[in-house]
Assembly symmetry: C2
């Protein structure tokens, strides 16, 4: 369902060029469960942003569900992103003026889901992540780990076909982290493709597919 | 050097009151090395914010280096904070328009350190955390772990007497995390008091003093 070929991504800072991705090839099937690991700065978030249609490569192609995405216009990419992808950002990107419940509800509202169904799905998503007592708190009234869980609830409430999670347990204790992973693995068991970036080798070891990055390239790509 | 007595902190959200800290007593000596652990939402960041003079308790007292801080006015608290405390935030709080070097330099400039010495100290702090190649990148041009390391460099460049670190390795791979901990432990070895909030039990196990929080109170307080 995911096919990356020859992906390159460079950033310019002043007169310096950073080669964030230097030729990445990657193929994943429907329902795969992959962990992407590697040192700080090795290109994991850059890779995820390209997979999530949030960024375009400077070279190479990306086919998602058979659709060649790099040649699509912004509007079609945005629609594909909304309809098919749930993204959990390394820095959460919650909407400050909305409550936890409001943040989780937003993608449902944008997708035209009816109010009664929205309320039920938001309640279920918050409950699955232990957030019910904090539903009416805004992000600045939440702990770091609570914000992270809101970001996860928002990405999963639409049951997208692809979930991209950038360090989903970085701010969580062992118990909350396990709850999150169980929730994400539950979605994967129902057919969703799951790609996690993580620094936690215990978490990485649970994935069936393990991809290790170094310096903008794939150093290792194994099936467990 | 730190004496907390009967610390309470409550937050109001709508008609709900959250008891973030419910009566915390804590005494730490000069040069101590403590880890604060506990579930997401148990009050760790709230405790650190009070220790860092970023927040005031609703009840109880906090003496820092013999100075009773809760009765001081805002201006004196701000000065004490600038002069004595280095804070590494769970969400970094870097200044978006400044580069990595600019962010690290800021506390030195505010303290009136001369330009030549500032440049040397910034270069040393960046180098200690592997950030030299990214000195001229702004936060939005850095990876998550690089931003975290800039936050650490900024907090430590002033060699404050107290360092408060809220999950300093949450976004770092094992190797970068060890570099950070070595840098922080090096400062502690030179007499700085170090308090880390962490979800990583390996990291927590290195501290000489281990404090576990649950539901806004200290559940356990051990010397290793
Ligand atoms: N400004 C605020 N307004 C309302 N509630 C708050 C506020 N700040 C924190 N809280 C609540 O107080 C509790 C403690 O928050 P705190 O940030 O100290 O937790 P924590 O132990 O640092 O958690 P984590 O490990 O997730 O970072 C949480 O339940 C949180 O929802
Ligand atoms: N917008 C940008 N402009 C310039 N350089 C960038 C930009 N975004 C990322 N980089 C650089 O590209 C490299 C890869 O960044 P990326 O965020 O993908 O790393 P990462 O593997 O996610 O790291 P971490 O584990 O620290 O989150 C880094 O060295 C970073 O400094
Ligand atoms: Mg990253
Ligand atoms: Mg916290």
């Amino acid at each position: 369902v995911i096919e990356l070929t020859g992906i390159e991504r460079r950033f310019q800072v002043g007169d310096q060029v950073v080669a964030a991705l230097r030729g990445v090839d990657l193929t994943l099937g429907d329902g795969d469960y992959a962990a992407v690991m590697g040192p700080s700065g090795s290109g994991k978030s850059t890779l995820l942003n390209i997979l999530g249609l949030l960024d375009r490569p400077d070279a190479g192609t990306y086919a998602l569900g058979g659709v060649e995405t790099t040649s699509l216009n912004e509007e079609r990419r945005a629609r594909l992103r909304r309809e098919r992808i749930g993204f959990i950002f390394q820095s959460f990107h919650l909407i400050p003026r909305l409550t936890a419940a409001g943040n989780v509800e937003l993608p449902l509202t944008l997708a035209g889901v009816a109010p009664k169904e929205r309320r039920e799905r938001v309640a279920a998503a918050l409950d699955a992540l232990g957030l019910t007592p904090r539903a009416h708190h805004r992000p600045d009234q939440l702990s770091g780990g609570q914000r992270q869980r809101v970001a996860i609830a928002r990405a999963t409430v639409m049951a997208p076909e692809l979930i991209l999670a950038d360090e989903p347990t970085g701010n969580l204790d062992r118990a909350s982290g396990e709850e999150v992973i169980r929730a994400l693995e539950g979605l994967n068991a129902r057919g969703l493709t799951l790609i996690l970036v993580t620094h936690d080798p215990v978490l990485g070891g649970r994935a069936r597919r393990r991809i290790r990055m170094a310096d903008g390239a794939v150093a290792e790509d194994l099936c467990a």
